[in-house]
Structure formats: C-alpha cells, structure tokens
C-alpha cells in the first residue's frame, strides 16, 4: 500500500516539473544511452586485458608459473570470497538506495548510500590487505602482471566509484536532483553494478579457475 501512495506523490511532483520534464525526457534518454555505451567500451577494455591473461595463462608451461626455480603460491581464495561478498553486498545496498530515492524517501536513501560507500571502502581495504599478503610481485611473472594490472584497474574503478557516490550524495542533499530528474543517480547505480559484474569475472578467472 505504501508504495501506491508514494507513487501518487511522485506523480504530483512530476506534474509540477512537467514542462522541464518534457525537454528533460529526451536529454535523459540521450545521456543514458551515452553512459551505457561508455560502460560497454570500458567493459571491452577489461575484456582485452582478460583476453591477454587467458592467452598468457594457457600458453604458460605451468600455472602458477615458476620464479627462480620455485612455483608461486596460489591466491587466498577464501579471503577473496569474503571480500567479494562485501562488494556484492554494496551492489544490493546501492540498489535499495536508488529505490528509496524513487520512492522519495531521502532518509533511507542517505542510509543506503552511506552503507554502499562504507562497503566500497571496505572492499578497497580488503584489496590492500590482499596485495600486501599475496606473495607475488607485479614485475616477476606474467601471473603477477595480469593479476595486479586487472585487479588494480578494477580497484581504481571502485575507488573512482566511491568518490563518485560521495559526490552524488552531496549533490542529492544539496537539491541538485528533483522529481524525475535524477539521471546522475541512475548513472552512479549503473556504474556501481558494472564494477560488481567485472569483479564476478575477475573472481572466477583468478580465484576459481
């Protein structure tokens, strides 16, 4: 019932902004498509590095490879699994943040957004811990090269995402987004889910394969 009432509220708000929305509707479509294309291109950037990892791994005589006569250690899969849960959890909280915004519940929106940011930072700290304890280096072998480049790129995306979400949160509370004009929040959510999806691929490729 509550949602039905809110959607009527939403309609009222939308009616107030109707003139703006009329022009805005087109701009939003254009921006959304542009943003989806940006994510696709970014996805292909990851795919290229993933391709290079698969290529190097399948053409190596042994995996993990040998360095100075010693085989390198395997990754700590259980720790990475925990860390993955943190990141996927942040995807769930982000989803609820956007839903709260759509239902005009600003208090819940702020709560879910802060939760997302905290989980994102938690994931980054987990990555930092993993980097310090993994026992391989960037320079030594192709394993290190692929691992640090790919997870580093992903970590950079998470970092940018956290900064982006903080900016979005500040903007939302300053009243930048009104009525149905919340494209920035949609984009932020899409971006955050995209970062999650990339991590699914990386988790399979590095820890489970």
């Amino acid at each position: 019932m509550a949602t039905a009432v809110k959607s009527i509220e939403l309609q009222a708000v939308e009616a107030r902004y109707h003139d703006v929305d009329h022009v805005y509707g087109e701009t939003r479509d254009i921006r959304l498509l542009g943003f989806v294309f940006f994510l696709l291109a970014d996805c292909l950037l990851f795919s290229s590095f993933i391709f290079s990892y698969i290529y190097l791994r399948t053409s190596a005589p042994a995996w993990p490879p040998f360095l100075d006569g010693k085989q390198l250690p395997w990754f700590d899969t259980s720790f990475a699994a925990m860390n993955s849960i943190v990141l996927f959890g942040s995807g769930v909280t982000m989803h609820f943040a956007l839903e709260s915004w759509k239902n005009l519940n600003k208090r819940m929106f702020n709560m879910w957004l802060v939760a997302t940011i905290v989980l994102g930072i938690g994931f980054l700290l987990g990555q930092a811990h993993e980097y310090s304890s993994v026992g391989i280096t960037w320079q030594g072998t192709t394993m290190g090269a692929s691992f640090f480049t790919l997870t580093g790129m992903h970590g950079l995306h998470v970092f940018i995402g956290v900064v982006y979400l903080i900016i979005l949160g500040l903007q939302a509370n300053r009243g930048v987004y009104t009525g149905s004009k919340y494209f920035g929040l949609t984009a932020g959510t899409l971006y955050w889910h995209f970062v999650d999806v990339i991590w699914v691929a990386l988790f399979f490729l590095f820890y489970l394969w």
Binding site: I30, F49, Y55, Q139, G140
Partner: protein, 577 residues
C-alpha cells in the same frame, strides 16, 4: 504533405521551435578555441589534421629521398627507422582518423540528420583538445631518440626504445581516448537525434558510414588502448606482458594491436565510402543504385572487420587451424566491399556526369581503391602472404587503399562541402589540376612498388644494396617513385592555397551549389550556429533526383535551386519519370 505523416510533425513542433535556441556565445575563446559548435570543432580538426598531414608527409618524402640511392642517400639507418615509424604513426592516428571522423564526421553528420549539434557537445570539445595534446606527446618522443619499430611498435624491438617508446604508447593511448569518445558521441547522436521521419533507411549514406565508423571507433579502439597501455606498463614498470624471457608473449601484442588496427583501416575507408556515395549520385544526377545494400554493407564491413585481424599475423607462426578461418573471413569481407563498388558503377551508368573536382576525386577513388582492394585479396591468401608480407607489395597495397581510398575520399569531400562550410566555392581550375597531380603522383609512386615487392624488395629497410644487385632496375624505379611522390606534395600545397585563396576570391556559393539533396543543402552557407531554425520533417530518402525534395517544415530556403538540379533522368529507371 501527406496527412498520414503530419502527426509526427506536430509533436515535434512542440519542442523543436525557434524559442529553444539560445544566443550564440560571445568572445573569441568561446567561439573559436573552446567552441562547443560541431562545425567549428570540425574546422579545428580539419586544420590540425592538415598540419599533421604536412608533417607526416614530409617524413614520407625524407624516406623517399633516402631510397634514391641503394646505399641510402641522406640519413643514417637509425634515423630512417624513426622516420618511417613516425610517418606511419602520425598519418594513421593524427591525420587519417581525425580527418575522416573528427573533421568530416563532425561537420557533416549533424547537418545531414537535421540536428542542431551532436549529443554531447562538451565531450566533443574535449575529444578535440585531446588530439593536439597527443600530437605534442608523440612528437616529443623525437627528443628522446624517437620510436624505431614501425607504426606497430611490436615488442621486443620496441622495448629497446626506452623513454621514446613510452611516450609513443602514451600518445596513442591518449588519442585512443579521443577516438573512443568521438565514436560514442556520434553513435548516440545518430541513434537519438535524427530529424523526425528520418528512419534508418532514410538516412544519407554518409551518415550510415559515420555510424559504422563510430561503432568501430568505440569498440575497437579500447583494444588498442589495452595493447599500448600494457606496453606502456612494460616500458615504465618493467612488468612482463610481452617479454618472452619472463613468460610473456610478443604475439599477444600483435593480437591485441591488430584487433584494433584492422578495424582501424575500415575506420578510415568507410567514411570515404560514404563520401563517394554522396558525391556520385549528385554529379551523375541519378539516384544511388542499391541504397540498402550500400548501407548494410557498411555495417557488414564494420562487423566483419572485427573477425579478420589475424591476417596481419600469418608469418608470426599462427597455428594452421587458425590461419584458414582468418583467410576465409578476409575473403568474405571483400564481398560487401565489392557490392559497393558495383553499386557505384551502376549509379554512374546512364547518368549525366558533371566532371567537377569532387567527382574527379570520386572517380579516381573508384579506380585506385578497387586496385588496392584486389591486391588485398591476393594478400589474404596465406601462401601468397607468407611470401609477400615483408616486401614492398604490402606497402603498395596499403598505400593504394589508404592513399587511393581514404585520402582520395576526403579530397573529394573538401571541394564538395567547402561551399557549405565557408559560403564560397573553391576554384575548380586549381582543384582539377590538384586532382591530376595527386592521381598521377599516387600511381607513379605506388604502382612500381608492386613489382619491386614481387621481385623481393624488403620493406622497412634503410638500404637495398643486395636487392639492387639482384634486380638492377630497382634503382631506376625507386628514383621514379621519389620523383612522382613530389607531385602529391604539389597537389596538397595547391589544395591549401586553393582553400585559403577561395575564402576571399571564390564565387559566392548560395544554399545549394551542387543541386544535392541531403539536408545540409537546405540551410544557408555557412550554416547558422543553430543549423536549423525549425527541425525539418523527412519523408523519404534524399537520392531521388527526379522528385521534389522529401522534406517538410523547411523555413530556411530563400534561394531557388540551380537549374541543373532539376534535370530529369535521361533513361528510364525504376525511380525515373
């Protein structure tokens, strides 16, 4: 017009009216430097790319001068390596791609779809300004000795370049970002911002070509960014991606590089296809033959181009089971290309041909591009390629396709759209002289390379003493090529002179000097900064020269069409009278 179509018309008027146009920006910087206007950005691209063409062209002339003597005439072997690397890099990334996508795509495409600007004008400006920055980074690598491994910069040789190699990677990464953003911008613009009534199959063919190009620009360029990004990491942080002594693979770089760079050659050639598809019907006064197949073969080429990259790598020891499919797919990409060539020839058939400068370039394009395409089919065959890959035959093929295809294409576009861009006509006399210089120069330079290559003259070498002993005519042919290559220099010089001279002294162009039928010819020349006061309504394709213009809602027309714009088809055609 027809009652059935007025509803779209009405809904559009609600927000397409003149009251949404904001006043133009004031001040020199906002107008000409950091402009958001797609037409000004097109000009910026054009001027910068033309400058790059001169720089890269002068590298090419130094290469040609060196080869007038089998021992090498003017420079050390080391300098020669830098020269041909920089020539290739600058021509491909700083001249061709910005010229055909940045300059022509930006200027023409929004006008042809009836839009007031691209979807993201600010992104467009950023894309442009990245380009000169990348050029500065690239040329600054010369201060550190310059890149030595060719425009492909294959490791492990390129890893010896040190700082210069790292700067090369940085420059290509940067220009790649610019290309990707332009591609994204154009895709969204074409998908979302076409004038009402302009369905996909009513778009001008240049727009189709720009769309196919944007698709490749967006999705292929990131693979290049990954390749040069990894190479950069290897240069700077000594991380083993491509270093075979630490488990890396140089062939991996080739895969990543060519996954981009094969689509890249279609990035330069498909806009040229689009230009020719506009120029031929206009000057043959005849509907384009096979509109749909031309449009769809652009898309087919764009999609197939992602599946043929390994034909550049046949000598790299690729497994035979991989070579065969790549050979077959490469043959397959010849099919849509061939369909286009036949459609263009059929467009000319029975037409009333006006030999303007643009038309001459378009006809020259048909000849030289087809020639280059056919040698491409030879090279697609694995056994032939294994023999010819390291010889001048490949150089000849590539320069016929790029010089005789892409460059001829945009040389056709310059006199065609110059009146729209500046309001003045270019001098036809100088233009035609320029065409003959370019056409003869191109063939004189690159045709002998075919037989030199078949005799086994190795490419990329600074000297050819041993080859000249085995094939004494080589010295003559190399000097012949060098002499003819200067005709192309003269032609480009003439073009620049003509473009500057005509700004002042050209005839006033009027709205539609060619009697062409795409939307940009319905507004004043040069177009106002908002392009269309009212967004036009489109009822049909723009190529039926015997019918009235298929547009409604035009308030921009103040001058009548020239007489020859109304010529009715002399032969009965399906579309004819």
């Amino acid at each position: 017009m027809q009652t059935g179509q007025t509803s779209t018309h009405d809904t559009h008027d609600a927000h397409g009216a003149a009251d949404h146009i904001h006043p133009p920006p004031e001040g020199f910087v906002a107008k000409y430097i950091f402009s958001l206007d797609h037409k000004v950005i097109g000009f910026q691209y054009f001027i910068t790319a033309l400058l790059m063409m001169m720089i890269a062209g002068s590298f090419a002339e130094l290469i040609r001068l060196q080869l007038t003597d089998p021992k090498g005439a003017i420079m050390s072997n080391d300098t020669y390596n830098v020269m041909f690397s920089m020539h290739g890099t600058a021509m491909v990334w700083l001249m061709l791609i910005p010229m055909v996508t940045g300059a022509l795509g930006n200027f023409v495409m929004p006008l042809q779809i009836g839009a007031r600007d691209v979807a993201f004008p600010w992104l467009n400006m950023v894309s442009f300004w990245i380009f000169p920055v990348a050029a500065v980074i690239l040329f600054s690598s010369l201060l550190f000795g310059g890149p030595h491994a060719g425009w492909t910069e294959y490791p492990p040789i390129s890893l010896a370049d040190g700082t210069a190699g790292a700067l090369w990677c940085l420059a290509i990464f940067t220009i790649g970002i610019s290309s990707t953003m332009t591609g994204l911008n154009f895709m969204v613009t074409i998908i979302k911002m076409r004038a009402p009534g302009m369905t996909w199959t009513r778009m001008p063919l240049f727009v189709w070509a720009t769309f196919a190009t944007a698709l490749m620009n967006m999705f292929a360029t990131v693979a290049l960014s990954a390749a040069v990004g990894a190479l950069f990491i290897e240069h700077v942080f000594n991380v083993p991606f491509f270093d075979a002594t630490r488990g890396g693979s140089a062939v991996l770089y080739e895969h990543m590089f060519w996954f981009y760079s094969h689509p890249a050659v279609y990035i330069f050639i498909i806009p040229a296809f689009g230009i020719v598809s506009e120029v031929l019907p206009t000057f043959a006064r005849k509907p384009i033959f096979g509109y749909k197949v031309i449009a769809f073969s652009s898309m087919a080429i764009a999609l197939l181009s992602f599946t043929v990259w390994a034909h550049h790598m046949f000598p790299s020891g690729l497994a035979p089971w991989l070579q065969i499919p790549f050979m077959i797919l490469t043959y397959a990409i010849g099919i849509p290309t061939g369909i286009k060539v036949f459609s263009w020839v059929a467009t000319l058939w029975g037409g009333r041909i006006h030999y303007s400068t643009s038309m001459l370039y378009a006809l020259g394009f048909l000849i030289t591009f087809t020639f280059g395409g056919i040698t491409g089919i030879f090279l697609a065959s694995v056994p032939v390629d294994l023999h010819e890959h390291g010889t001048y035959f490949v150089v000849a093929h590539f320069h016929y396709v790029v010089g005789g295809g892409a460059v001829m294409g945009f040389l056709a576009a310059i006199p065609y759209w110059y009146p729209k861009a500046t309001g003045r006509m270019m001098s036809e006399r100088l233009g035609k002289l320029g065409f003959w210089l370019f056409f003869i120069g191109l063939n004189g330079t690159f045709l002998p390379m075919h037989w030199l290559g078949l005799e086994g003259m190795p490419r990329r070498y600074a000297t050819y003493e041993y080859f000249a002993k085995a094939f004494p005519d080589a010295v003559f042919w190399n000097r012949f090529e060098t002499a003819f290559s200067f005709l192309m220099v003269a032609s480009v010089g003439l073009l620049v002179f003509n473009a500057i001279w005509s700004l002042r002294h050209g005839k006033i162009a009027g709205i539609n000097p060619w009697g062409a039928r795409t939307l940009e010819w319905t507004i004043s020349s040069p177009p106002p900064y908002y392009n269309f006061k009212k967004i036009p309504q489109v009822y049909d394709r723009p190529y039926d020269f015997d019918k009235p213009l298929p547009y409604g809602n035009l308030d921009n027309q103040t001058e009548p069409f020239p007489e020859y714009g109304k010529v009715v088809m002399p032969v009965p055609t399906p579309a004819g009278a």
